[in-house]
């Protein structure tokens, strides 16, 4: 069977990892430039789709068509994200069902955007192994509901990956720690990432990783820290420069990136400064760690209530936790560490890189599924209660939260009208008593019931939550023993036909993407060469004979003309030509520079000798 990789599909960054056969240890796969983290950013440019670093560079240039933090939109509807849309420069159209993002003249869904990131990681792994990669374990926040998990699976399918298992991020981290024998007993995993927060309490014993309880918030993370700082900076700019930047997408994006960078610096230092040149003024500001902490205090506090609930559900007081492990980039913030330590009365640790540990754990789970590791077993739970809407809109619980998965429940249904052949079920997820306050997962239509007097049919419906935390529903008419057919309409998901179409489209895009990448690389190379040549001409025009100078200028103009066209080969050819024709000049300049350097070194050596 083919290899299975582990993927951490993060809000801010994504990674791919595998277990090395020789050492038995998980390793992350770097890209060609040695970078491990792939920014989860996708830019839809007129030339094609960019992902990762190149897309990140488009954040300020093309704010309206460069999508970041799309994980916050996975499996969600417009109403869910309406509040935070003002923080995003791209637009989301108000519509029923799944979120649709308008980028560069078309609409994309969050699974399609995530699929671009997944495909880049798939290709990275394929480049590393020199073989096709078709299966992956992908991690999600433990508190992700069914729709969010399904959306993640759909993203995999669109990217040409069979997602053989969805694993919860904190539990994946525990596997990585467990493999390294760095965690045992009852452990708490506090996972604060870019956009999501999870707390999981596990018992690690005899190679079994048994999750006792989990809780969290799928809309709380480092992004929210950045937003708090951005709001504060906006106020400060208004006060000091009388300018309101909130309506300017490019300025907002610059501000967000600067705020994020300042936040990161303040984890190491007590103070930092940021300088941002805007069109009409240059904004300069010093920020103290204490100022940031005041802004994020309520957000950090908001992570503690889920911790207490998880402990209560596990039936354990905080004092019985043997180890507290920190996962996710946002746990580098000193205040987060302090508050966690206060809550558990124990210093938390993070020996394994908090950015990489989830991907490493996903790789371990992939190896378990491939049969390569047999002594470890992960027993996870479903984070939210599953219920059915009953008469009067009450949600009647089928499967309580924190039940070990796989798990199932059976219910009997009948008809309420003579001759009724269809029964509707509305499945919800959440802890509230009324169905409308819970999360609507899907509506199921049981069809093909033989017409009978009301109350006569006996339809047994089996609800099964599999090891991915995803719901499966089967129905059977007990009198006939016949399986009833079920039509599923996911409330915030893609229908099967949609996914199939997106898979088709993604092949077309994949083709376009390669072209786009080559074109952009060619332009970058052309820009680099032109800049060098222009500088050389300024420095060494006197070193060039007149005829050579004219030829260089002609080659330079020819490339400049072609640079903005769409013909990649022509740009490459003219870049090569310019490079060649300037080689003698480059050599002469190099010689001159070398002579100068030698001369100055001699001076330096003389100065240093006693």
């Amino acid at each position: 069977m083919s290899r299975i990789v582990g993927i951490d599909l993060g809000t801010t960054n994504s990674l791919v990892a595998y277990v090395d056969e020789q050492s038995g240890l998980p390793r992350v796969i770097p890209d060609r430039d040695g970078r491990v983290l792939l920014p989860s950013v996708v830019s839809f440019t007129p030339e094609g789709v960019l992902v990762g670093e190149p897309a990140k560079r488009q954040l300020v240039r093309r704010p309206g068509s460069t999508v970041y933090s799309v994980k916050r939109f996975m499996g969600r509807g417009f109403e869910d994200v309406r509040e935070e849309l003002r923080y995003f420069p791209f637009s989301v159209a108000p519509a029923e069902g799944i979120v649709r993002i308008a980028v560069g003249g078309r609409e994309v869904t969050p699974p399609e955007v995530s699929a671009v990131v997944l495909r880049a990681l798939k290709e990275r792994a394929e480049g590393h192994f020199g073989e096709a990669i078709e299966r992956a374990v992908v991690t999600v926040p433990a508190y992700f509901n069914d729709s969010q998990r399904q959306a993640t699976k759909d993203a995999g399918r669109i990217a040409g990956l069979d997602v053989v298992r969805i694993v919860n991020e904190p539990t994946a981290a525990s596997l990585a720690y467990g493999l390294h024998q760095l965690a045992r007993g009852v452990i708490a995993i506090y996972d604060l990432g870019g956009g999501t927060f999870d707390i999981s309490i596990l018992r690690v014993k005899d190679g079994v990783f048994e999750v006792l309880a989990t809780n969290g918030n799928t809309h709380l993370g480092g992004d929210d820290f950045d937003r708090a700082l951005v709001e504060w900076l906006l106020d400060d700019i208004r006060a000091r420069h009388g300018a309101d930047l909130s309506g300017d997408p490019e300025a907002m994006q610059e501000l967000r990136l600067a705020a994020e960078a300042a936040k990161i610096r303040l984890s190491a230092g007590e103070r930092t400064a940021l300088t941002l040149p805007f069109a009409d003024f240059t904004y300069h500001r010093e920020i103290l760690r204490g100022e940031l902490e005041e802004l994020i205090e309520p957000l950090v506090q908001a992570t503690l209530a889920p911790c207490r609930m998880a402990l209560a559900d596990a039936g354990l007081p905080a004092s019985t936790i043997d180890e507290v492990v920190l996962v996710g980039g946002s746990t580098r913030v000193p205040m987060v560490r302090r508050r966690v330590q206060e809550l558990f009365g124990k210093a938390p640790h993070s020996q394994l890189n908090p950015d990489e540990v989830v991907a490493l754990g996903a790789a371990v789970q992939a190896q378990i599924l491939a049969g390569g590791i047999t002594h470890m077993l992960l027993l996870d739970v479903t984070p939210l209660s599953l219920g059915l809407e009953t008469l009067g809109g009450v949600a009647s619980a089928l499967i309580p939260r924190n039940t070990t998965i796989p798990t199932g429940a059976r219910e009997l249904f009948t008809t309420s009208v003579d001759g009724q052949t269809v029964v509707d079920l509305h499945v919800v997820q959440g802890e509230r008593e009324l169905a409308r306050d819970c999360r609507s997962l899907a509506r199921f239509e049981l069809r093909g019931i033989d017409p009978m007097p009301a109350g006569m049919p006996k339809i047994e419906v089996t609800f099964l939550i599999d090891a991915n935390g995803i719901l499966q529903v089967h129905a059977k008419e007990l009198r006939t023993g016949k399986a009833a057919s079920i039509e599923v309409t996911p409330t915030y998901g893609l229908a099967d036909a949609d996914v199939a179409r997106m898979v088709e489209e993604s092949y077309a895009y994949a083709e376009a993407d390669v072209h786009a990448r080559l074109l952009i690389e060619a332009r970058n190379e052309a820009d680099t060469v032109m800049t060098h040549v222009e500088r050389a001409l300024r420095q060494g025009a006197d070193l060039v004979p007149a005829g050579e100078l004219a030829a260089i200028r002609a080659a330079l103009d020819a490339l400049r003309q072609e640079r903005d066209g769409g013909n990649t080969e022509l740009i490459v050819a003219r870049t090569v030509a310019l490079n060649q024709i300037t080689e003698p000049l480059a050599t002469r300049l190099m010689d001159a520079a070398l002579r100068a350097a030698l001369a100055s070194r001699r001076v330096a050596e003389i100065m240093e000798s006693p």
Partner: protein
């Protein structure tokens, strides 16, 4: 296969928690879908069902109260629904007290609560909580022992007593929840979805 049979255990209420956990881990290693990835689809479906059954059995049997509820279902030949089959019933001895509490609750719902009323309600809640724990102790102590060790002939009586204690407990928990709500406390804190 009933939950006791899943673990190859006799129908007894006294269970060693460590032994049960060992059996649970062993069965999980045998049936968990993780170890059947390469199997044909029908075998995978069977592993999923088996694994779900093992998890349900463990969830029920590791909790001493859910264990009694389940045993009652088994002995009375009812299908096991997750323990919620015993209808709450007010213990006769408490009826007078309950009227008083219900009246106080009504008052709390219609108007505000003054400090004295709050204190009374809180004290009543503490008392009911203690009674509910009493019922639990009776179930897991003398009644469990009577079932496991007493003469066969007493069993119908033991079951009837279990049923009554469970009904009392279920009733008390509902009232405690109402009281907590009236006191404006998050119900999660007192009646959470606890495992142990």
């Amino acid at each position: 296969m009933n939950y006791f049979e899943v673990f190859a255990l006799p129908r007894r209420l006294g269970l060693d928690a460590d032994d049960l956990q060992r059996r649970f881990y062993e069965l999980s290693r045998r049936h968990h879908p993780d170890f059947h990835q390469a199997a044909p689809p029908e075998a995978q479906a069977r592993a999923l069902e088996a694994s779900a059954l093992v998890n349900a059995a463990y969830r029920t049997l590791r909790d001493p109260i859910a264990r009694v509820e389940y045993l009652l279902c088994l002995e009375e030949g009812r299908a096991a629904g997750d323990g919620a089959d015993v209808k709450p019933a007010a213990p006769p001895a408490l009826l007078a007290e309950m009227f008083e509490i219900q009246a106080a609750l009504e008052e709390a719902r219609s108007g505000g609560l003054d400090a004295a009323a709050r204190a009374t309600l809180a004290a009543q809640r503490a008392r009911l909580l203690e009674r509910s724990r009493d019922a639990e102790r009776r179930l897991t102590g003398p009644l469990a022992r009577a079932w496991d060790e007493g003469p066969e002939a007493d069993r119908p009586c033991v079951l009837a007593a279990c049923r009554e204690a469970l009904a009392t407990r279920a009733y008390l928990r509902t009232v405690i929840q109402d009281l907590s709500r009236a006191l404006g406390e998050d119900e999660e804190s007192s009646v959470s979805n606890r495992r142990h």
